[in-house]
């Protein structure tokens, strides 16, 4: 039972990450693998404020979100000049830089030792020590982010993103200053990823740089590709499926020496099959 609750929390976290990345990749067509970097900024800023200053959780999270947003705003100006593949490389670089800072700025982040003993969030005097209690917070956060995602998708802004996704120049010809739109959505995506980071830090109560590598970005990316790009539902159900798939392989009866590798293998295999037979993903509306 505890195990199921744990999986449910993971699904909520990856759901939030999926939704935030979908806004950038699925709706706007900006192929970004920087997401774990923003996830990490949210986690680290929140953790440091909680551990170092004993700040209120929601305030710490808010600052983590703002920090992530600021980084996104600054970087966006530089990398949105890059087109296509070069933009992708820019985001790879961004993730690596963030991870490097987590690893090497040891005076602040304690490098590979990580930050232990992060307190669980305190809401109105109640500390969410039990995982079930935390699950309520995680689920509520997921619901809020889902609402934000749908709100954006249904707005005129969302339609413009879809237009930029397919033909940025044609969108400009109709009078849109598209770089502002791209900057805005990249920042929003970064901020929502940081929200997930704050939750992650206080759930696991320990963070280190290894959770925020490019592999993590790629995993998040694959969850929304599975679920389907351009769909809020897909951005949540994809992670749900993948988390279950990933965790489910624990029980597939592989001998323990190779279990972890078999899980990765099976996961990779599943992705290849998916791309062969349903490149739009399960609920997707957009083919890259």
């Amino acid at each position: 039972m505890e195990y199921l609750i744990h999986i449910a929390v993971l699904v909520c976290l990856y759901g939030i990450l999926g939704l935030s990345l979908n806004l950038v990749v699925g709706e706007t067509g900006l192929i970004s693998v920087a997401h774990a970097g923003f996830y990490g900024i949210g986690a680290y800023v929140t953790a440091l404020l909680l551990v170092g200053l004993g700040m209120n959780f929601f305030l710490a999270m808010a600052l983590g979100i703002i920090a992530s947003g600021l980084v996104a705003l600054l970087i966006s100006g530089v990398i949105s000049r890059l087109r296509g593949v070069y933009f992708l490389f820019g985001t790879i670089g961004l993730n690596i830089i963030a991870w490097s800072i987590f690893l090497n700025w040891q005076s602040v982040t304690r490098g590979p030792l990580g930050i232990p003993s992060i307190p669980r969030p305190g809401i109105w005097g109640l500390d969410l020590y039990q995982n079930l209690q935390f699950l309520f917070l995680a689920a509520a956060s997921l619901a809020i982010v889902y609402f934000i995602s749908v709100f954006i998708k249904k707005s005129s802004f969302g339609r413009v993103l879809n237009s930029i996704r397919e033909d940025e120049e044609a969108t400009q010809i109709f009078g849109y200053a598209t770089s502002y739109y791209k900057l805005a959505i990249f920042t929003i995506g970064a901020m929502l990823a940081a929200l997930a980071g704050a939750l992650f830090a206080t759930y696991i109560t320990y963070i280190d740089p290894s959770s925020f590598t490019i592999n993590e970005s790629i995993f998040i990316f694959s969850t929304i590709v599975l679920g389907g790009l351009g769909s809020s539902r897909g951005a949540v159900l994809g992670p749900l499926l993948l988390v279950f798939l990933f965790e489910g392989f624990r029980f597939a009866g592989f001998p323990s020496e190779i279990a972890a590798q078999m899980r990765m293998l099976a996961y990779g295999f599943a992705l290849v099959l998916l791309m062969l037979y349903r490149p739009k993903g399960i609920w997707g509306t957009f083919r890259i």
């Binding site: 005129s156 802004f157 413009v160 879809n162 237009s163 010809i173 739109y181 805005a184 083919r287």
Partner: protein, 243 residues
């Protein structure tokens, strides 16, 4: 006062003037045709005037004012709209969304907090009904036939309510019924005092629709006047048929 005019406009590619010191003027309430054999510079001219290609010399005037900012979004703000030979639609969204995105708020913040309204839908409905695409409004643009795609491209341009429309070969490959619909739209735009510029190869249509005609060859204007007049000029005949 022409709505759009160029003074000695130049666009070169590797030392060759694709547009060679061209002076053109497009007036409101007129359909002006831009014709010329293959490679004469018509499409390059359109691309330069609409900011797709940077110009290499000369000036572009909009309503008497020199056009300084030439990126596509600013060109649109000057009231200039264009279509492409190969319709540039947003394929993976619906016909209706293709129109709505032209009608809704441009500002980032404004767009974020706006849902399209009944008024937007009404305007979209009007233009889609005029081109006969209202029934297909929820279809993704990629599922339209060639003719329907060209109609949607025209509908998007018309929805801009521009001062000047530049249509690049809007009639290519279309059946007579579709040609009628589009011709009608062009005449309506003209009657509403907009300036309509038509790049075309079909001379019958040029004679039928255009009030004025410029003939380009090798990047230069070689004749201007009414279609009937220019198409009789020896230098025009020579440009098309060779020496």
């Amino acid at each position: 006062m022409p709505i759009l005019s160029t003074q000695k406009l130049v666009k070169s590619f590797g030392g060759v003037h694709a547009v060679d010191h061209v002076d053109l003027a497009f007036h409101g309430g007129k359909i002006t045709a831009l014709v010329g054999p293959n490679g004469s510079g018509k499409t390059t001219f359109i691309n330069t005037v609409t900011g797709i290609l940077p110009m290499d010399g000369g000036e572009i005037h909009v309503g008497g004012v020199v056009m300084r900012r030439m990126n596509p979004a600013d060109v649109a703000a000057y009231g200039i709209t264009r279509t492409f030979q190969n319709a540039r639609l947003i394929q993976q969204i619906s016909v209706l969304d293709n129109i709505l995105v032209v009608l809704t708020e441009r500002n980032v913040w404004g767009a974020l907090f706006e849902r399209h309204t009944a008024l937007h839908l009404e305007k979209a409905g009007n233009i889609l009904k005029k081109v006969g695409l209202w029934e297909k409004r929820n279809e993704n643009a990629e599922n339209l036939s060639y003719g329907q795609r060209k109609l949607l491209e025209i509908a998007r341009a018309v929805s801009m309510r521009a001062n000047i429309y530049l249509f690049d070969e809007p009639f290519a490959g279309l059946f007579p019924e579709t040609i009628e619909v589009i011709s009608d739209i062009l005449r309506t735009l003209r009657d509403k005092a907009a300036s309509v510029v038509l790049v075309e190869h079909n001379m019958n249509l040029v004679r039928e629709l255009a009030d004025y005609c410029y003939v380009l060859d090798g990047g230069k204007v070689i004749a201007e006047g009414t279609p009937d007049y220019v198409l009789k000029q020896p230098q025009v005949i020579e440009a098309y048929l060779g020496k």
